[in-house]
């Protein structure tokens, strides 16, 4: 089920057209589809490519916001409990610690605990010695520790599950479809002008309600309707380490600042984030710079000293879709609250709403608010069920899935269930060839790659990485990238030269994240990658790709 042409042949207008394929867009598509609306979701790149895929993957308990932003904290803890149930295959219940270091003010701890309790978050101060027993990688010099119900969430899996559920309920998903403009008739938005990057063509699509769920890019979408939404782009940089140093989320117990959260996830852990205001014009070009690397390493080491000797895999940066409210230069004090704009009321423009602000944690609630408003406008009275019904992948228990695919070799089976939840049952009739390993770091099989290409809207190797973790492990795609490119040729309808092109784009994208931290073993691997791909294989970027990278 790759991108289809249904949209272009569809004559009836859609009930809802959602612009943006991040968690919020996908969540809104799910909610709308479940309430029986004819739903189309458009995404200009791949799903989860904006802020959704460029954060910690922290399943916030809300503690972090308790002191400064009570409303967000309350939303967080509620959604935390919902996601632990409906998206259990995307979530790890790791719990977290808020650590007070000797250089921090211990009196902040009591204020923190008080605020958490007031927001309904169940936290508990524990003896630093006990904290170190629970999490041996934590800094041994801590003078205070608070246990919080933080966890981790895989944003790629979460977004995909929402999309799969939306599709099960009849929604249409079009990735690589970019909105170029909004179609306006008198005081109403009636459709969107889009560019299909796959088939390289422009078309107009009509809908009753157009939802702007495009995160930081929402400012630009609103401009197409001559509306002004002032976003506050705050860049956040993070570093990924090559193995999982900590089992629990580690936070600094102080006012939010640079590099004060260390989150475990899959086989890795990551430290973040920095926060700097960037001009809106630059939001598509985010690079981690050496100063940010220095800060993240210096501060990260304070949470867990063993990070110093842990290999860094890559750095990446995202842009928080904050809605500007004052002239705070760091963006840290801008509300993380949800912003739902009914442009009919706000600007006298019908058929157009914007859902923005918020956080990955509250994506479902944002979707619920947006869908409630859409339903009100369309006189649909179906109630929201997204908090009650488990997402695809989370419907069976691990044991139940395990039984279904018991014939798959155990190493592949375990990682497939971990990644795909009950969707791993698609691998049940794999042959030996489908069970061969594509990515040895992350134990991804050829069968899983095949399933992703055929069923999960994968257009290129970078999309494949987001679905399967191919190339996310220690080698950062050194060997698996070429294997995956070969399979891409087999499983997608794309010709060999397109797959080759996808391979060089993939490697270049990996390099973007490796470059800021390319010393030591990382530089060794990079040199090896260049020798293999450019040297032995003679791979290069095409003229067109070169032009794009120079832009």
């Amino acid at each position: 089920m790759k991108t289809t042409t249904t949209a272009s042949t569809h004559t009836e207008p859609w009930d809802v057209i959602i612009i943006g394929g991040g968690a919020t867009g996908a969540g809104t598509a799910r909610d709308c589809a479940r309430r029986g609306l004819k739903t189309l979701m458009l995404e200009r790149h791949d799903i989860a490519t904006g802020a959704t895929g460029r954060n910690h993957g922290l399943l916030h308990s809300g503690s972090r916001y308790a002191v400064t932003d009570r409303e967000s904290a309350e939303e967080c803890i509620k959604e935390n409990m919902i996601l632990k149930k409906i998206a259990r295959h995307c979530v790890e219940k790791t719990d977290g610690l808020f650590l007070t270091l000797p250089e921090d003010d211990l009196s902040y701890q009591s204020k923190f605990i008080e605020s958490c309790q007031a927001a309904g978050i169940n936290v508990q101060a524990i003896d630093p010695k006990e904290a170190l027993l629970r999490e041996p990688s934590a800094n041994p010099t801590i003078i205070g520790a608070v246990l919080v119900p933080d966890g981790t969430v895989d944003p790629f899996r979460l977004t995909l599950s929402n999309i799969l559920d939306a599709k099960e309920h009849g929604a249409e998903i079009l990735t690589y479809h970019e909105v170029l403009g909004l179609i306006k008739e008198q005081n109403r938005i009636i459709g969107v002008k889009i560019y299909d990057h796959v088939n390289k063509e422009e078309k107009d699509i009509y809908g009753n309600i157009i939802v702007n769920a495009s995160g930081i890019w929402g400012q630009k979408i609103a401009e197409y309707a001559d509306l002004k939404i002032k976003m506050f782009p705050a860049k956040g940089s993070l570093l990924i380490f090559g193995h999982r140093v900590n089992q629990m989320v580690l936070n600094r117990c102080r006012k939010p600042a640079d590099a004060d959260i260390l989150v475990p996830g899959d086989t890795i852990c990551l430290i973040g984030t920095t926060s700097t205001h960037v001009p809106f014009e630059e939001v598509d070009q985010m690079y981690v710079n050496p100063e940010e690397v220095d800060i993240l390493l210096r501060e990260g080491e304070k949470l867990s000293p063993s990070l110093v000797n842990t290999r860094i895999l890559r750095g990446y940066a995202g842009v928080r879709p904050l809605v500007a409210s004052d002239d705070d230069p760091s963006g840290r004090n801008v509300s993380r609250g949800i912003v739902l704009l009914d442009h009919e009321i706000r600007d006298g423009l019908e058929g157009f709403i914007t859902i923005t602000g918020g956080k990955l944690m509250t994506y479902r609630l944002m979707a619920e608010w947006a869908t409630d408003l859409i339903c009100k406008k369309l006189n649909n009275t179906t109630r929201c069920t997204t908090a009650e019904v488990n997402l695809p992948g989370s419907r069976l228990t691990k044991e139940e899935v395990n039984k279904k695919i018991i014939s798959v070799p155990s190493s592949i089976r375990e990682s497939a269930i971990y990644r795909m939840g009950d969707k791993a049952e698609n691998l049940s009739c794999n042959t030996d060839i489908e069970n061969s390993l594509v990515c040895e770091c992350e134990e991804v099989s050829a069968g899983e790659v095949e399933y992703a290409f055929k069923e999960l809207h994968v257009n290129n190797l970078i999309d494949l990485r987001r679905r399967t973790r191919v190339g996310m492990g220690t080698c950062q795609g050194e060997l698996c990238a070429c294997r995956a490119a070969g399979l891409m040729n087999q499983y997608s309808n794309l010709p060999a030269n397109k797959c080759k092109e996808s391979l060089s784009v993939f490697l270049n994208e990996r390099w973007k994240g490796i470059r800021p931290i390319a010393w030591g073993d990382t530089l060794r691997e990079s040199e090896f990658t260049s020798w293999i791909y450019e040297g032995v294989c003679g791979l290069n970027l095409s003229e067109e790709q070169l032009k794009n990278t120079k832009k």
Binding site: R483, A485, N489, S530
Partner: protein, 427 residues
């Protein structure tokens, strides 16, 4: 332990200088930590494909003066035109002497065919590997590309697409043996090294002849991934005779069998000539007195020093840890030799992976005789060769193997001349 020369690093460069010295009756030891860049060898040695400014080189011998005139830091510039030409011939001779019957010459580059079907200029290519002498023309009208069923480290589709663009028709076929199912059961075992053990068995000969004659019916040649013929050298030539069509090999993704084989072959030459090859050992520290290396200590030999008149450092680039980068600098870990690198880390890289990455030119500084510099001064008996050297980009210029081999021969010759001078002075 006392030797005439101790060589640190058992890759291409170290082995070549070792063999050259042993051929001249010198007592040599190589200390090798294990894997070398030969393990991802393409099957071809490059000499010089491009100048540092990107200008194409077709005739290395004739065009070397352009490099020498304009790029003073390059190892080839230190050799000079005459020496460069003399050494390339010596290298070709040495490989022939030891029994590596390679194709090509330093007068004119030929083209190797990459695992993706691209053509890349090169100097010498291993026998049986596919080459062409014209970069826009392949020597076949139609070829049959064969892969092993389920092998993910070779993709004939890419080769096919590139061949079609050059007007060559292709056909893709898959070869299989019942015995291969055994390694298919273990998802990570289906790699070139394991495959070759089964494919090279005498028992596969019959199936090969049978299948390959059908596959090659309408083709001028058969092209296979490099998974055959290393354990059973007559297999491919026998099959060729039977089916009456030529068979060529293409390199695969690592592990490169031809690389493993070449490393092993050269190592065997070295030990047969009487060399001592310390595998899995690495140098921990060294003593320098009166501007000479007096002792070298290794991990496995603890406080028993290696002593030698001359020491050659051929420990490779970043990958082999001949040089190491930390957040702020690039250093050479054994002797703390002077290194050449840019101050600001952000200057080390280009944003596009496929453009010139400056870090690849970093390395150890030497004088014009390839003696390692420490605090600006050459150490009398410490020579540096191969990928660890500064001033060249092995990938962009296509000169990695050439620098490794030529500097190794140059240094070995220097050592031999020096000894001769000592000997004649002593007489």
């Amino acid at each position: 332990m006392t030797f005439d020369t101790v060589i640190i690093g058992g890759g291409l460069s170290g082995l070549i200088s070792g063999i050259r010295l042993l051929q001249n009756k010198k007592k040599c030891a190589i200390i090798s930590s294990g894997q070398s860049a030969l393990h991802f060898f393409s099957g071809s040695f490059d000499l010089l494909n491009f100048l540092p400014n990107g200008e194409k080189v077709a005739y290395p011998q004739k065009e070397i003066n352009k490099l020498i005139k304009n790029f003073p830091e390059h190892p080839y510039t230190k050799l000079g035109e005459n020496e460069f030409n003399k050494l390339t011939e010596q290298a070709e001779q040495l490989l022939k002497q030891v029994g590596l019957h390679v194709q090509g010459s330093s007068e004119k580059n030929h083209f190797r065919i990459t695992p993706l079907g691209e053509l890349k200029p090169t100097w010498l290519t291993m026998p049986q590997f596919a080459i062409t002498h014209n970069d826009s023309l392949l020597p076949w009208k139609k070829v049959c590309l064969i892969n092993i069923k389920g092998f993910l480290d070779f993709h004939p589709e890419f080769v096919s697409e590139a061949f079609k663009a050059k007007g060559v028709k292709t056909e893709i076929q898959f070869f299989d043996l019942p015995e291969l199912d055994r390694i298919r059961k273990n998802p990570s075992e289906f790699r070139s090294t394991n495959l070759s053990i089964i494919l090279d068995k005498e028992s596969s000969r019959e199936k090969m002849i049978e299948d390959f004659s059908v596959f090659s019916k309408n083709s001028d040649a058969l092209i296979l991934p490099d998974c055959w013929g290393h354990k059973n050298s007559s297999l491919l030539s026998d099959v060729m005779k039977e089916i009456g069509k030529p068979i060529f090999l293409l390199p695969t993704f690592p592990p490169s069998l031809i690389g493993v084989y070449t490393q092993q072959f050269l190592k065997d030459c070295f030990t047969k000539l009487g060399g001592t090859y310390m595998l899995g050992d690495s140098v921990t520290e060294a003593n320098i007195k009166n501007n000479r290396v007096t002792e070298v200590f290794t991990k496995n030999h603890g406080n028993i020093p290696f002593k030698a008149d001359n020491v050659i450092l051929s420990s490779g680039s970043f990958f082999s840890q001949g040089i190491i980068a930390d957040m702020n600098k690039v250093y050479e870990p054994v002797f703390s030799l002077d290194t050449d690198f840019l101050e600001k880390r952000s200057d080390w890289y280009n944003r596009n992976l496929f453009e010139n990455q400056k870090y690849q030119q970093f390395g150890v500084k030497t004088d014009n005789n390839f003696r390692g510099l420490k605090n600006g001064k050459p150490i009398d008996n410490l020579f540096v060769t191969g990928a660890i050297l500064n001033g060249f980009n092995p990938i962009k210029e296509g000169c990695g193997a050439g620098v490794s081999i030529l500097t190794a021969l140059y240094v070995a010759n220097q050592i031999l001349i020096k000894e001769q001078t000592y000997e004649s002075a002593g007489q």
